[in-house]
């Protein structure tokens, strides 16, 4: 069974990630997030936690990167998908390096410009989406609608 790693930090990113769930039917799902309290919401799927480094604090970001690298090496996903933010960037970076297919869906909250992590993730995303038509460009990201 193909393994898909679904990565999002807590709050809106997580809620949006879960709306993509039906696209991955029939695959083994491994969730990675920053909030331990979400564990009870994912049923029998594997659930991994990473540190929250949403403010791009340097030390915490480094720690996040290391923990994410460990998870990606352990899981060896076939697909990595994320709605943001920093944890998703690192998941795509390491996932891509290890040969996974990668998908980035920038949060619908980013109306005026792509998120910082979304801009950085573009290089490592096989599918790179924005949820706002006016942010799409011929070089990417793509617009194919939104999660609602």
């Amino acid at each position: 069974m193909k393994k898909v790693m679904l990565v999002a930090s807590s709050g809106g990113h997580w809620v949006q990630l879960n709306r993509l769930y039906p696209a991955f039917e029939g695959m083994e799902k491994i969730y990675v997030t920053t909030e331990e309290r979400y564990r009870s919401t994912v049923d029998s799927a594997r659930f991994l936690v990473v540190p929250d480094a949403s403010r791009w604090n340097k030390l915490k970001t480094l720690w996040l990167a290391l923990v994410m690298l460990k998870h990606v090496l352990t899981v060896r996903p076939d697909i990595v998908v994320s709605t943001g933010a920093a944890p998703g960037f690192f998941a795509l970076l390491f996932g891509k390096a290890l040969g996974a297919k990668t998908i980035w869906l920038d949060s619908i909250a980013n109306v005026e410009q792509l998120s910082m992590s979304g801009q950085m993730a573009g290089r490592y995303a096989d599918l790179w989406f924005t949820q706002w038509e006016h942010l799409a460009t011929p070089e990417g990201p793509l617009y194919r609608g939104a999660i609602l």
Partner: protein, 160 residues
């Protein structure tokens, strides 16, 4: 019951204080998830954080949710079909790192999915119009994920 929520990441005293005052004046039953806010309300019941299950249940039971303009909250309210008024956080007041909540709220307002109060005065006005707002949001909103987006992902997956 009216549910107030400000998410888990940042305080939002301005919203909690406004709702506390309003609840005291109007004798309305309000429950708030105040997160990291430091203001302690005296006219409304509150908890700092809610478990996912309890949050979902309170959202389902609420006649109206009044919230920050966080995407998690907005999407959850659309999913449960609970009418929602949001007040975006302002970076100038130290309530968020930037003004993306104002941009998001404006966009969703344009889609007529939600009601938006851009400051406390507007919030009080919206609350006075509560019945109309709830009625206008009762009409079915299509909140399914874009079929094209889901298809693009499925077509891309290995084995397809």
């Amino acid at each position: 019951m009216i549910l107030v929520t400000v998410g888990e990441q940042l305080p939002f005293d301005r919203l909690i204080r406004t709702m506390d005052l309003w609840a005291g004046q109007q004798q309305q039953k309000v429950f708030a998830q105040i997160g990291r806010s430091t203001f302690r309300p005296s006219h409304i019941q509150y908890k700092d954080f809610l478990e996912q299950g309890e949050f979902r249940q309170r959202l389902q039971e609420a006649q109206l949710v009044v919230a920050h303009a966080g995407m998690g909250t907005i999407i959850s309210a659309l999913e449960t079909g609970t009418p929602i008024i949001v007040m975006p956080r302002k970076a100038a007041l130290g309530e968020h790192r930037n003004d993306h909540q104002i941009a998001t709220a404006s966009r969703f307002l344009a889609l007529s999915y939600i009601a938006v109060a851009f400051d406390e005065n507007e919030l009080r006005q919206k609350l006075a119009d509560m019945e109309d707002i709830c009625k206008s949001q009762e009409t079915l909103r299509n909140i399914d994920p874009s079929p094209l987006l889901m298809k693009s992902i499925r077509d891309f997956l290995p084995g397809n």
